[in-house]
Symmetry: C2
Subunit: 387 residues, 2 copies
């Protein structure tokens, strides 16, 4: 197993929970990779020898971004719908059906190429783990197909047959829930780690969502929930009551919702690129942080409500619009994402963790918020290898 | 002179004023470059032969961005000031003095390398022309030095000795104006195309600014103005009365200001990345556009109020925050910037124009706003050559 010494690191963010400060930052640092893992981190002057060395010339190194919410298996784009929305047409969940129609018609090759393109784009921007949901197939075969394709790119695959009720079940939502909890789950569960539901007016109500999540759990899937995006609702408390890992969106919360997240440890996933692209109010991150809730930042990359793959943009928006500090935002985009996926081997750079990291053309992670829009990631390592 | 055919262009934005629609967009297009210029544009099926050809596989091509407002000659960074501002410390023009101190101490080599790094970063993001201001030297020698360095990268150099009154003249602003209009202008004018003043409470008042602009014009420089950024003031009307090319910022305008811009044709430069990074209200672009004012979008890239070099971010913010259409935003970031610099050879892709263009990894320019934060520019051509 060969080792690589990264040295000349101006600022190394470790997210080491054993260090006192949130990011566990080490200035003038070095890091040793052995195989696919981090073997050593510390001050540059204490660095051990390694088979080879790379001097980063004072650049910052951060854990690779963990994007815990993305919808990448689809065909078509909705640029015109976006332009219309910017001229005043409000966002509604019904637009999902446009993408469902295009996705069902697409070949496996087209869908796979689309995911590959987006994953490559994400890696160039420093993302080293991405959760990928199904949810644009909405038939037994198309959901299973989406998850098989997703599984070629990530182990964090999420069965989202309950994204929206497809047009052909418009008059029979109960029939669709029976499909999602029955044959579709049967075909999908062996390709998925997670089960997810869009709990929202226009999508699935509390009882339907509970049935879907518990059916998934019965097949060995872990739960995560789209909750409280477009208005107050039962999603967050449902997530807490079924033991979900994450409640994502959290734009409209009651005090009871916030208390439930804090007391259960369910991670609140905030997706500010969606609020940017739908011109919606941003979630109140400070309220969550001040209540002790664990916050993850993710892109929600999808062709409808927000087609950004950029975790740096999410960080810049979290600081500008949600009043997170640059440190809180970076933590949430890395360690927070890992918590949302119940992973401790990623989102941190400590001995034994996966060597998933991003090199920034900047002296400090603060530049991710200080220099919005600028592609600062110059190199991304996944499992110890540059990609 | 060799020729290159770019073909397979899914969407070509020409900004040809002879075409009826704002962007003069051609679908399924081709473009021929001869030497440094555009020789031909049109439908792919009508394309003439050329010495070589490059198939862009359906990607969009746009004119290179014309960034008409940037402060790139400086040393140091102000990431900590940024982080403090995001925690509630308001922005003030006085922070400029921090950068002045660092810039004066820097060697020519350091300053030149900094500009080179930022210009390279801009080109990677599709910017093919950038205006570069002095203004962090504020001595005779340091201003002339800044302009000489800027001139290595652009012909659009701007003398901004009147950026702020430096600390050593705090008790003698009249003495500083005498320096700016006298020996400093003498030393700077042969390295500059433009003269600029920051007209603002805490910087220069109307009488001082008028004296500086007219002195510059007397030396053959053309005028542009920092106007109405932090509050209402005389900047815009001064710009109109002295025949300036542009009044930049325009955040706080009266009806009289808007009328003056519309009737004189002075270009309003909007710099939304500054409002993003200072958490300030955005300019009212719709009011300007609806009044018939020519609008340019620019980055204002600088280490204090907004350190983004990203024209795509400016476009995304213009659409999201200032309610410009994606087409208006792109026009303002290309043809609008050219108008601000009084250029007709750039900002458009028509026969005879410079072959300055950007290739997008997207089927349409709309993706610049639809996919915020994503580095969509895959290739940039300056003067006919890939950079």
């Amino acid at each position: 197993m060969t080792s690589l010494l990264l040295t000349g690191i101006g600022s190394l963010v470790t997210n080491d929970p054993a260090r006192s400060e949130l990011l566990g930052e080490i200035r003038d640092a070095a890091l040793v990779i052995e195989g696919s893992k981090v073997a050593w981190v510390g001050s540059r002057r204490d660095a051990p020898a390694a088979d080879s060395a790379l001097d980063l010339g004072g650049r910052a190194v951060i854990p690779g971004f963990v994007d815990s919410h993305a919808h990448l298996v689809f065909a078509g784009d909705r640029a015109e719908e976006f332009a219309a929305r910017m001229s005043g047409t409000p966002y509604s969940a019904g637009g999902i059906r446009t993408t469902v129609a295009a996705t069902r018609q697409a070949t496996d090759e087209v869908l796979t190429a689309n995911v590959a393109r987006l994953v490559t784009e994400m890696r160039r921007q420093g993302t080293t783990t991405v959760e990928i949901k199904s949810g644009y197939g909405l038939t037994v075969a198309d959901e299973a197909r989406a998850l098989q394709i997703a599984g070629q790119f990530t182990e964090e695959t999420t069965y989202l047959g309950a994204h929206v009720v497809p047009a052909e079940f418009a008059d029979d939502p109960a029939g669709y829930v029976a499909l999602v909890t029955g044959p579709m789950l049967e075909a999908s569960s062996r390709h998925a780690k997670w089960v997810d539901v869009f709990v929202e007016r226009g999508a699935f109500d509390e009882d339907q969502a509970r049935a879907i999540l518990t059916a998934g759990q019965g097949k060995g899937l872990q739960a995560r929930v789209h909750a409280n995006q477009l208005g107050e609702g039962p999603g967050v408390q449902l997530a807490c009551s079924v033991g979900a890992a994450a409640a994502d969106h959290c734009t409209y919360l009651t005090d009871v919702d916030v208390d439930a997240l804090a007391s259960t440890g369910v991670v609140a996933g905030l997706l500010p690129a969606v609020e940017f692209s739908t011109r919606s109010p941003y979630p109140d991150a400070r309220r969550l942080l001040d209540a002790g809730v664990t916050v993850a930042l993710a892109t929600d990359c999808n062709p409808g409500s927000g087609y950004s793959s950029s975790m740096p943009l999410c960080i810049a928006l979290a600081v500008r619009e949600m009043h997170m500090t640059p440190a809180e935002a970076l933590w949430s985009a890395t360690a927070g994402g890992a918590a949302s996926l119940r992973r401790t081997d990623i989102g941190r750079l400590v001995p034994g963790a996966r060597a998933d990291l991003a090199v920034l053309d900047a002296p400090s992670y603060i530049h991710l918020a200080y220099r919005p829009g600028v592609p600062l990631v110059t190199q991304t390592f996944v499992g110890g290898r540059p990609v």
